[in-house]
Symmetry: C2
Subunit: 345 residues, 2 copies
Amino acid sequence: MPSKSSLPTISDVAQRAGVSIATVSRVINGNTPVVAETAQRVRLAIKELKFVPRAAAQVLASRKTNTIGLVFSEIRGAFFPHLLKGIEAELHSSGYELLIYSTHSDHPIQRKPIGEHNTDGLLVFTTSLELEELERLYGINFPLVLMHETPPQGMEIPVITIENKDGAVMLVSHLIEKHGRRRIVFLRGPEGHEDSEWRERGYREALEAHKIVYDEGLIARGEFDEDSAFEEMQKLMAAGIEFDAVFAGDDDAAIGVYRALKMANRIIPDDVAVVGFDDVQFARYISPGLTTIRAPIEEVGREAVRQLICLLNGEQAQRLVLMRTELVIRESCGCQNKGGGERDL
Amino acid sequence: MPSKSSLPTISDVAQRAGVSIATVSRVINGNTPVVAETAQRVRLAIKELKFVPRAAAQVLASRKTNTIGLVFSEIRGAFFPHLLKGIEAELHSSGYELLIYSTHSDHPIQRKPIGEHNTDGLLVFTTSLELEELERLYGINFPLVLMHETPPQGMEIPVITIENKDGAVMLVSHLIEKHGRRRIVFLRGPEGHEDSEWRERGYREALEAHKIVYDEGLIARGEFDEDSAFEEMQKLMAAGIEFDAVFAGDDDAAIGVYRALKMANRIIPDDVAVVGFDDVQFARYISPGLTTIRAPIEEVGREAVRQLICLLNGEQAQRLVLMRTELVIRESCGCQNKGGGERDL
DNA sequence: CTGAAAGCGCTTACAG
DNA sequence: CTGAAAGCGCTTACAG
């Protein structure tokens, strides 16, 4: 049984086929004409020896890694698989491999985990890369595409994101117009989280458009997760703040809001309407069904890859791709949706 | 602004520090003593030039990729992030990178996507790798660890999986003992899916232990997903088959079961008890809360990495790691769990 | 402790 | 269309 150290190399193939290694390389890469009969012989030798070209050698010689990197800081339960699915799909149809790195671990690392030394370009999700590293990569003209994050001042990096503001406007306007809500709590996301900031802007615009004065007291800081949302709602209620609706920031937070309201015996949506953002899997399964915004996350992944590949091909990429969001009405806002969404429970 | 082709190399660093490239290599790798003062100079030069060693060159020269690969066939919504999280966590604390490849795309690929040429070892989830390729890799002694799949005849490959059979036994016994159910439908998973087969075995054992005769008519073939489960349930009911409980195969399928039963105005759990498997995020959010089995998926990922690293270090790995599963009782089985699970809605 | 040199396994002008 | 040869950027015995 052969051990790893005795794997066949291109020379073994060349020898067996009676050609030079250059010729073997050419039939493998198929970019230079080779006489059909010779090519046949080479292919046979490859098959017989079960030869697989060493990636590192190809990369070193060709200066192309044929790999793109994905950097993210956190696998948010409901969100991430969709993004990854879109990325994988688009990537495979273009022959690149994917190297994934999540930056939330703070173990000291020897080698730089991901960058120009092992990928041809990078997909960066939100703020998962330090500014300094981003600047360095940008400085060496390394192909970059951001997702859900506007590039820092002065850097022209393509960004793919969703219509956060529009989504928030749709949500809040719906609460006001259809359900007459006027004291709408907004649960922020994490500090400096861009999605959250745009949603807040949409929240304020919608209020303004309906001549409702913005009340600082209705703003709470969540973390786009269940627990902090639960706590914030508890605090609001303990403080005796009145409200007739909650824009939870995202769906995960909405769960925390549900829990807090139910515990306080406040009926959703009669006493308090609740809306989320993302339309994750459980949004239609909870009771009442969550009215929320559908964001085309998978498409964000696909588009990010497309733009990056433009860059890799030396073509111009779009500076900003804004994906449309869509209002998904269920029952938590006060609508009677029974029977409408046939996939809902 | 430097372009990618003019990035500094180890020679640039050596020159600037006034040493040989061998010395630079030594301070980078830290495996050979270097005089402190010299090392300082080298580090300074590295910093000044913003030098990052090219991975491909390191790999080619050292014959180590420092990367492990993950092969899977499908990102199942609720399942995958947990697995990935465990893998990432364990990997980072050991200095390896992760290369991910999903095999469900059938685009013809030039280069072999993942294997001995670009990784030091492979994590394989269920049947995502063709037998032939598995045999080839095994044949060259390439480090492999399987997850949720027993190795083919004659191959000694470590496998990490969960107590599927035990879980099923717990579930079915609970339905029988606590709730007096005797006509329990079992919804299989995809053909040849090992998790499914073990669950079925557990189902049968539990029946047998309670002297309930196995009825072929109560077995339906699902796909571990909502839609096929929905259809199968429709068929069963249309055929007039009687049953007082459903073991849905997994949680995703349970959703389809819920939908079909509700549409037929059968009350869960009064008319029909339902149980799932996996305890995915939505299991506690649906109504009634789903009684299911909690599987330590994240731990499966971590353990798989640990075993693979054993192999990479030339140590012996365990041939089988069976992770314990746990019964999570909510209301869909007929229990009164209100107030018990304080995180449930 | 340090350097010169061979070598890792490919790709790609350059000739022919 | 094909081969000889240089080169990709590192690591690592081998001397010293």
